[in-house]
Symmetry: D2
Subunit: 352 residues, 4 copies
Amino acid sequence: MRLNRKVAILGATGAVGQRFIELLQDHPWFKIEVLAASERSAGKKFGHACNWIMNSNLPTEIAEMPIVNVDLESIRKAGNVDLVFSALPGGLAGPVESELASEYPVFSKASAHRMDQDVPLIIPEVNPEHVGLIPIQKKARGWKGFISTDPNCSTIQLAMTLKPLMNFGLSKVIVTTMQALSGAGYPGVSSLDIIDNVIPFISNEEDKLECESQKILGSFNYDRIMPDKLILSASCNRVNVREGHLESVFVKLDQDPTIDDVEEAFRKFKGKPQELNLPSAPDNPIVVREEKNRPQPRFDRKEGRGMSVVVGRIRKDPIMTIKYMCLGHNTIRGAAGGGILSAELIVAKGIA
Amino acid sequence: MRLNRKVAILGATGAVGQRFIELLQDHPWFKIEVLAASERSAGKKFGHACNWIMNSNLPTEIAEMPIVNVDLESIRKAGNVDLVFSALPGGLAGPVESELASEYPVFSKASAHRMDQDVPLIIPEVNPEHVGLIPIQKKARGWKGFISTDPNCSTIQLAMTLKPLMNFGLSKVIVTTMQALSGAGYPGVSSLDIIDNVIPFISNEEDKLECESQKILGSFNYDRIMPDKLILSASCNRVNVREGHLESVFVKLDQDPTIDDVEEAFRKFKGKPQELNLPSAPDNPIVVREEKNRPQPRFDRKEGRGMSVVVGRIRKDPIMTIKYMCLGHNTIRGAAGGGILSAELIVAKGIA
Amino acid sequence: MRLNRKVAILGATGAVGQRFIELLQDHPWFKIEVLAASERSAGKKFGHACNWIMNSNLPTEIAEMPIVNVDLESIRKAGNVDLVFSALPGGLAGPVESELASEYPVFSKASAHRMDQDVPLIIPEVNPEHVGLIPIQKKARGWKGFISTDPNCSTIQLAMTLKPLMNFGLSKVIVTTMQALSGAGYPGVSSLDIIDNVIPFISNEEDKLECESQKILGSFNYDRIMPDKLILSASCNRVNVREGHLESVFVKLDQDPTIDDVEEAFRKFKGKPQELNLPSAPDNPIVVREEKNRPQPRFDRKEGRGMSVVVGRIRKDPIMTIKYMCLGHNTIRGAAGGGILSAELIVAKGIA
Amino acid sequence: MRLNRKVAILGATGAVGQRFIELLQDHPWFKIEVLAASERSAGKKFGHACNWIMNSNLPTEIAEMPIVNVDLESIRKAGNVDLVFSALPGGLAGPVESELASEYPVFSKASAHRMDQDVPLIIPEVNPEHVGLIPIQKKARGWKGFISTDPNCSTIQLAMTLKPLMNFGLSKVIVTTMQALSGAGYPGVSSLDIIDNVIPFISNEEDKLECESQKILGSFNYDRIMPDKLILSASCNRVNVREGHLESVFVKLDQDPTIDDVEEAFRKFKGKPQELNLPSAPDNPIVVREEKNRPQPRFDRKEGRGMSVVVGRIRKDPIMTIKYMCLGHNTIRGAAGGGILSAELIVAKGIA
């Protein structure tokens, strides 16, 4: 396994692109080689084109890097790239990622290809076996590279908590989300819209939660993904929080486990990233808080360097079976960090 | 019906007490005669004892009024009171309200007596017939006055939307609330706890929602209230909003009405307050917004002068039957305004 | 004086344009006849093109109005307009307002023409005599109409408090502003930029405060405005407040008035709008609050229906002469309301 | 120099007390031996008595520690303490600190003794020579220990920027502060008071800024502190920011340095803590940001692990001489971190 991989970041100037840069700064396997963005920024120095919104300072060597346009030719010219992270916005992502996948492994945070039949939708702790789609995809499309996608931010943290519940016969999920502002990108939500307010709507978010969960929790039959029969109903809200999505979850199980059983299932949950000791893997994918008023976005979003999902308030539910709150860092585990962990898994497995 | 009633307000210096004062300023039936509060404030002028937090200015004549202690003797001495509004905090409310009810009609926003078997828990549009408990209560307790209570703020707005759904065979409700800061009183929630945060816990709130709904929607058999068989499960959160509780509601109905049926049921819903044309009655107890991103606390909380509940995003639900968002002004309809409307109903019916 | 004037609003879909619509809804003199905006919105119904952000509901008849393009020809065709309010953004305002002024009286909130030598920069209570520039302007430019401008929001409220201090020999002003989000328009400031933050910079704002004040407080010598010799130094900040600019002001006076003298000067200050009893004139242009912790944006911005400036914390200053806080509603007095009051003044004087 | 000092923290459950605990967790010289608080908490385990509001998790070994009462006898019994950090609230601090100083070196964040003639008011980079008061104090009071105080949070960051300006003949300062919520302690400011608002008043804060600065910048004549002749005028505001005070500063200098001169003076400023390489000393006491919109609380408060002051927007001022913005972390440099640095200085000098 050759580990000193050179990476390109597509959509590098956006909120998720910036988080990729921040998280890859001292990464032991991946080194930033190329920063790419749309025509508007291409040709400029990153430090000039980007309104850096991370809390950390923009690293000087990154500020000095030129931005290249997001097309195969430009990226090929710009450096000797081994793999590509895509943080492109919706419309652009579809064709650009397909173009680049003809040559490079592309790890995408965009929704464009998530539901493509031969594209895996990966949460490394949840469905690592879905990477088996990659050779099928390469063959079918005649590509040297491939596309691997990560789910939507609100889906990732929820699906991580659903996975250990499948042992109890998971059948139905009702979820109301309270999602952070950074999930809408930058500039994203106007301050005038959210001060002293909640917005009870996020475009397409409920659909994504409902569809993606079935694919993620589905089984891979060495040919394609058979979606799980889970029924999920979501109601999504934007709240005045900078980072960290909080979700109120009601779950129907076939069995009737005790609260302690459920808590233990959450605590014991580990996956391939922990087994393989991947660089971005948190020790505990799920952390359970005992306090009656946790998890809270401000206090819990950085758990496991933003890669753990924090669960609390596990209670019996008189209609479904259990209810609980879960919290995840939407731009780390829910975006750039999740993408990096997927790439680590696929590299560690020798697929990229 | 003698309409020029003199009222005392208990707990006048608190957040709900202040809202009572504001709403009663130009009330056609009720006139503020006595302001009462706990020992700490008693004896002072209201303007000195109270940290006025309403957006309107504190009326000068109110600022000049003396505060009397919250006991029967003090209130009796302070004026010729016809009825009493109680905005007392939990612990104090129980005994004080009982003492005062021996002589006065007491309309209480406190939770102390809500679940007492002979005390009505009133939402005037929903269960006006429950006032039939009052003569039973007076007789049983040998009181000249009585206690009538209003539900918890988060319950009121939810129960108002559940009432018209009973025609479709309402059986189960799952609700996640996003509640405003003013619901915690003043000073209430520390700014350090809520900035860039959500608190996924409100003490006793879920229990109140679950129990009070059954009583409110129950039937009065001329002797006592038979609780409704509704099963309700709640998950309550505090968000960084000043006023206006937003609730994400999933409802199981025996029938399968269309979205239009449900919308029409909400729109057509009227009750005794509208029929009797009570002064604080909104024209429409429920207002339906068509926009995909409404209701929102900041824009919709003042609907019907804060007395309407605003519903939006009515959708089919794949697990329950329908889902929707509802919003109410928690210190007007959910507190002081609701209490005043209850008093208007009971006065109009000649019971007080 | 014919009072039933038909008006066009330029930039009607923006934050200030919306405030014009709201304030003109029941205006006794002015009636909205034409809504104009840039090409992007022209041709659409207002209700479709505009993301309405006022707290009040969008009036149905306004929602149904078509939007016309902001050029002379389109506006001429669209209706029989008597005068024009411009809430156009910077770049567009300059040429468009000049074009329209050839035919109509144009009352502009844009900065483009504020410092033009023959264009008045009006605060009706402060420098009503500057309208004397209008005939000079019309003659010089050969226009049937004219341009009259209002100062920048942060300047208006400050200049209103400086005017009565001129009697004490005003010479120097140091001001630090804490300005509301709505001052940046809509969508304006990203929520991610302002949550848990202050931004200590507003583009061009300090220059505007420094230049405009001298013109406003200058004297009209029947030919042109002689700028006042006042020296003003500003430091401007954006804070997490929806509406209402708060300013910390330190003033150097030649005389040494007592605090009472200054307070009395503020309280007694009246101007032409009060004298002429103009529809939008507040009873008191300046309201003084005695409390040690006022004015506050949330509580004081609506004073005088948003047309009064609220002053508090008047203190002796050991370096300058006095210091105080002042607050104004930046989108009412500081924008649309100020523009309407200017138009009322000029109509009342028979100039338009 | 014996470095393994055992420390007691007074007022350990409060916001500043918690910050002391957090910062001392891995301190190379100081080890937490005793946690003390008022009667209400004494006797309980820290984890039970304290509502932990730091972003980091409460360390388990701290949670298990018992809280002792804040009196000499209790602390003596509780452990073998070498020095004491006091984060006591105002009223309590005066007598308790005096009692403890009879035996221990007391480093106090409270205001009680700041202006005592024989008590130093230390910012280690600014006036380290003022520790010369300590032997004078011990002798005069007959104490084995002593009291050393730190200035108010808003004063510390300002005084650090004023010190290097003294070379240009500093004579007058006008400052408007925008202070963070954590400066008011916990629970401190009610969320209802600050949402969508600014509070233009902080009790005693302006006086503290005005008096403390003169003492800090004063000279020690081997007998007492001769206050500097600086005249300072302050206007203090509370804004909706969690941590980080921002100050708008206008300074009158005898000389007329260029912006570059001033910037260089800020950048080159170092003091005893840097010279002695104290554990909590930041590399750069003052960091200058070049961007036109910095410093900002959210991005800059953690500079130098919260121990640096960040300056930006240095401009010529037409009334004074220069103006600039400065930002400091009010609970690190402005409170617990400042207190620890003072203790490090005094320990390093062999005085404690």
